[in-house]
Amino acid sequence: MSLHLPVISIALLLLASFVMPLLRRGARAAALPFTLSVLGAVFTVSLYLIYLVESRGAFSYHVGGWPPPWGVELYIDHLAVYMMMVLSSICLVVMVYGARDLYHEIRAEVMSWYYTLYLLLLASMIGIALTNDLFTLFVFLEISTISACGIISIKKDRECIEASFKYLILSVLGSGCVLLGVAMIYMITGYLNYDFVAQELPQAIAEYPYNILMALSLFIVGFSVKSALFPLHIWLPDAHSSAPSPSSAVLSGLVIKIYAAAILRLLFRVFPAELFEVVPVLDILLFLSVLAVMAGSIFAMVQEDIKRMLAYSSIAQIGFVFMGIGLFGNRALLGGLVHIFNHALMKSMLFLAAGLIIYAAGIRNIRDLRGIGVRMPLTMGAFAIGAFSMVGIPGTNGFISKWHLALGALDLGRPFFVAIILLSSLLNGIYYLPIVINAFFGVKIEPRSEHRDVPGMMLVPVLILAAGVIFFGFYPGPILALLEQAIVL
């Protein structure tokens, strides 16, 4: 039975999302507890799956009982359960927050739609993490694209529509690239299953080099657009800053990462290593990631809107994940992967904290945040922890990922990238810390009349995430142990 749990959790999420629109009138109040219990169940399942995979190793699941290459296969390995754990935990915490915040940002009538989209987004991301089949990957990619657009545009203002439209166009372009790539791979190998494709590709290189190259570049472009790797990031600041705060937290924290994890799987499990000797894909990713790290930080420095700043910072941080992929060493990869979780924790926490500030004081502009720390000490305290983690102060989890990335770069004898990491950390410090400083010290502003009290239910998730940032800064052992097995691909 426990082997069915991965597919059951996807089915459960889908089922819950189908049921959600049916909850009408009286039953509407049940939507939130229902959503939370489903998310909680999935989170529990993901923890159990980690235990399962740790104890009995990776296993594959044949949906419909058909063995690959005929049927669809889910492959539950360490990376998949890791991603599933990250996704479900952050989603759960963010939803606890969103329960109150959303009423402030979107209309009550569309709340159940929001839950639907949210559950679908989680389901599709888990699907992307678990699947071992190119076409299933594409299908879940579509679901995640549309639902991600949905949770942006659901807010009732014009910016959101524009932003999500931009996102939709580019994201669908990305999906199209991926689809074309999948079709090409299928054409030259005759399989869709990762393992079978990987088996066939080495022979196909000689025969169809341009096709493989084209498929690879389509995948890279497609996934880069979706995960906002540097030159293709232009949709991200608008989309992530205008969305409701819980959406921003999930989008920045999780959605862009899952595509990075997907391309990681494709690169290391599907495409043969010989290909990388001819085509320096990893170097290309590495250069782009360096550009992303620098450009994201520099753009973030000039932002006035706090959520926009956080969004640009995400561009820099996704660069770290890709740097881990591009460096292609065990330790660097470990750093990149652990940064997925670490950044998910801190960025969702920062977005939620920003959301709290917007909720309580109605302020978005960084200049207006002066003195906010005196009024909202816990929120800004959490924000400060997130800021420190972004800079990579030891004792926060941001340090752990930077430590591994830097060591990984040194392992490969490329200290240049350590310099890049440090420089980016410095830039992070330059734009994050003044916010914290201004919030706590300096000019005192008398309380505004519009100041609202922060409900505990919104504050607790932020504090939980902040505690996570500290906890995993001191105790990253379990996560790293899991990932060390995950990178033995």
């Binding site: 069915h4 629109p21 049916l22 419909g64 009982g65």
Partner: protein, 147 residues
């Protein structure tokens, strides 16, 4: 659209279209077609009806509530059938191996899960088309009112 010719023709055509849609859905496992195609035919028949008569008339035949019930119902149906495979001790969405396959190939009631899944897909596609059409046209109408 108060044209008598259109109305009469549609009144005659729509049942045939719907029957054909159902036929395509039910014979998905025997002949070209299936849930997607049949559902689209079914949905377009209802769209045609609503276009030729009146939006309200269409809504009377198939209300928003019902439509959204069908919408979700199609998906729930699909997943429940998938879970049936689990309940029978096999994998998710397993057909014959779980003992769901019945009937001889070529007969109408054969293929087990396939038949049921096609039905779910058909309902889903039809209601999707219909709902989308309705909401978009209503949106235009209300937009016009404001102006």
């Amino acid at each position: 659209m108060k044209d008598i010719v259109i109305r009469t023709v549609c009144r005659v055509i729509v049942p045939f279209v719907q029957v054909y849609g159902l036929y395509v859905i039910f014979h998905g496992h025997l002949s070209p077609g299936g849930g997607f195609a049949g559902g689209a035919i079914l949905g377009s028949s209802m769209v045609l009806f609503a276009l030729s008569f009146h939006l309200e008339a269409g809504a009377q035949k198939l209300g928003h509530e019902t439509s959204s019930y069908l919408e979700s119902g199609g998906g729930i149906w699909y997943i429940l059938i998938g879970l049936l495979g689990l309940a029978l001790g096999s994998n998710f969405l397993t057909n014959r191996a779980a003992g769901l396959g019945f009937g001889l190939p070529g007969q109408l009631f054969s293929g087990g899960m396939i038949f049921l899944l096609s039905l779910g897909i058909g309902v889903k596609v039809a209601s999707t088309m219909f709902t989308l059409f309705y909401n978009l046209s209503e949106e235009e109408g209300s937009g016009g009112d404001h102006q």
